[in-house]
Homo-oligomer: 255 residues x 4
């Protein structure tokens, strides 16, 4: 039987992508849409609401939420209280709010997912990097982004380095008498590892983690071309939360 | 306290690399060398033997074996019977021999490792590929080798495809109306996946596993430049078998 | 002084991109727009026409044409006759038409460009590949596209192989006793070279040309993410044709 | 008819590689070997000398020189004076010496080559990079070497950046409000371009030059695995110098 899905914030860019993804998957059934900016009464036969309180009577399994930080916490709480397992891509939750929602979900015996990043490839890359670093402690990170990006290194690169640090033996890499003829050549340092940030027009968001050992190399690369990539993570989230009895934070908890 | 190591077959190419690796690691202590072709009585103070039966009195922890298929089974059995945990890189064991050695090791409560491939990077790549395929079922493999290689695809590529097949949903990839204007363009097919074999002078042994999904890509690449790469796997094997009570087959069992 | 530009077919996708590009470049001045589907009289102060014959009085230097195969030949002739150097991205010209337009341009002492591909990076890759093949005759091509692409190999890969064939010594690559354990593993063959076609969701249009020689490798890769990439070629075309006295076919003629 | 070749310094590592390369090429005929450290009188029927003055009577076309900086200048002069076109891989010539040898070669109407780098792939990469930068001014360089390398960036990377600077419009790349959260993330700067140096065990010597433009990217990569790679350049040098009437400096002069 298909999993019954509600999408909150369906008028936004991510909401629209989620709408399309749910419609195209036979294992999912779209039974309600909600957005305060909606003017239509239904879309392709699916009822549209502007106020979430009108959805309490719906018999849905999952509440997909791509709304705004201002309302996401209230929405998630509402979903859990009404028996919908939440799959939330909106950011801005505090640690306290997440803890509270976890407790609430456990009391309701409902699964749930709040995820700051739904790109499965990116999550897998971080996991694999941390795992490989146990055995291959020599590693450098190259992240490549479009040249409008202001900050370097990227948040993902720093996060990746931190995850690697948790599993690898601490190590100051490079030659002991290493010397930069030009400042910055060896990149930024995080716990003895080096991070390099490339910025060029045409690029979108890419990251390489390169491990080296005697006579061999292992390279992990993620290319992100479009936010549409988040949808495979949302799809996975929907199918996993219905099997679970507690909300989790981070898509990696479901892999 | 250092782990006491014997190396059998130390005159061969791999044995020599193992000898060097053990000497350079403070956590390991080389206490004996054996090779029927040895003519010296000791090397750098370490006693050299030509007959393994002369080593029964040695108090060693680990028996590293890079001998020949003809004697490796007997050597491994000998090691277990004399209380040395074997770490064996020689090939040619039958399934029955491996089972028998596992039983013997269990009775002796000794760890052990027989591994056809000691390159940690290659093993990690295969594991990661199988793991990623669960979530990203669209995948192709490109393997690149020097142009003296006779067979295509490589054994590693076929092995990787088989491991991927165990975890991913079966899927015929590519456009449904896909057409080869030139035969072979789309590569070899294994369970709906494609494998491409590149052969060029200068190359050594390389493999890329490329996953694609809506708006993103994940690429795993292993480069093998030299058999010296096996030594990090041998090192790991030595340090792991002393903690275990049964022999395993395949380095992946220790990761 | 700025180069005065007319854009024909400005309502189409490419025409719109050209419109934006011209406006953003201080060295160019947009003085007229034409499109039979236009309903507005002017855009941002630039006059809009629906019939090209109304533009004969304009004092323009360059006629950029992104119309349709049905009218492109007539448009290009019209441009030359009225003193505008044409830069044409529309396809479908016959060899006779191109010859005729070259002759006409020479009589008028006007430069011009008809180009089937305006992506400078793709053109450079093909040129470099042909140049490298003179010295490094062992080469394979990997092209990677989204999995909706029906044909394999891509037209660009075949074109690249043909250009390489013109400069390299003929050579049957790979081991002489090479054997495919799985049919297609070694890819398609063009003049002894191999071409491999990868098809995965998420990919756009990518091509790698890999050269190998004793102890070294040279890899040329082009990534095409968006048709917007054509605009740097159009920009180059506009600035080059005003310096020339004859129309050329192919952007490579201006590099 | 085969080109008759003498190899000076044939007992060294490069000399040995040259010896092997000449023997394997039917278009070349090895007619003399010279090395002060040689003890044999001939090798595979080819006469061996310890003193170059004993070779004046040989009817050779080309003098391949892999000796030492101390004698290379005298050797090259000797070769030219005796009618042998020199192909010299030894370093340490002063600019004055090179000028003098050029003049001498012109008087003798003999070709010749002195080259600090014989890796054709590396030379082609530098040429292509300079050529591409004319049209694609946004570029970054990543060079990757083994972790025993002391200096960063590599000499080749700096040389490549300088060659690029000669052809591209000067440009400060990256976002105007770019900010390094961790110092060094954006790499070293040369004329507005960025260079990143990766150092890992297992790597040999690799360089990537990445160009980005709206919607596209062009990447040039050279991998150097072994000094044996120099031999295709030496081979090319031998075949080119016999067609020429003056000595040149740098393999790029023959491409």
């Amino acid at each position: 039987m298909a999993i019954k899905v509600i999408i909150a914030g369906f008028k936004g860019k991510m909401g629209q992508a989620a709408y399309k993804m749910v419609l195209e998957d036979e294992e999912l059934e779209l039974i309600g849409l909600v957005d305060p900016f909606a003017t239509e009464k239904n879309v392709a036969g699916v009822p549209v609401f502007t106020d979430k309180t009108d959805l309490t009577a719906l018999e849905a399994d999952v509440w997909v939420d791509f709304t705004t930080p201002a309302v996401a916490y209230e929405n998630t709480k509402f979903a859990l209280e009404n028996g919908f397992a939440p799959v939330v891509g909106t950011t801005g939750f505090t640690a306290e709010q997440i803890d509270e929602l976890k407790s609430l979900s456990a009391r309701k015996a409902l699964g749930g997912l709040i995820a700051p990043n739904f790109a499965i490839g990116a999550i897998l890359l971080m996991q694999f990097a941390a795992q490989a670093a146990k055995y291959l402690p020599n590693v450098e990170i190259i992240e490549l982004h479009h040249d409008n990006k202001k900050d370097a290194p990227s948040g993902t690169a720093i996060k990746t380095a931190e995850l690697i640090s948790e599993t690898r033996q601490s190590l100051k890499q490079g030659a002991t008498d290493e010397e930069e003829l030009l400042a910055g050549a060896r990149g930024a340092e995080v716990d003895g590892m080096r991070i390099h940030s490339v910025r060029l027009p045409g690029l979108v968001a890419h990251q390489e983690v390169i491990f080296g050992a005697q006579g061999e190399g292992l390279t992990l690369r993620h290319d992100s071309y479009d936010r549409i990539s988040f949808m495979s993570g949302v799809n996975l989230g929907i199918k996993e939360v219905v099997k679970r009895q507690q909300l989790v934070y981070g898509l990696e908890q479901l892999l």
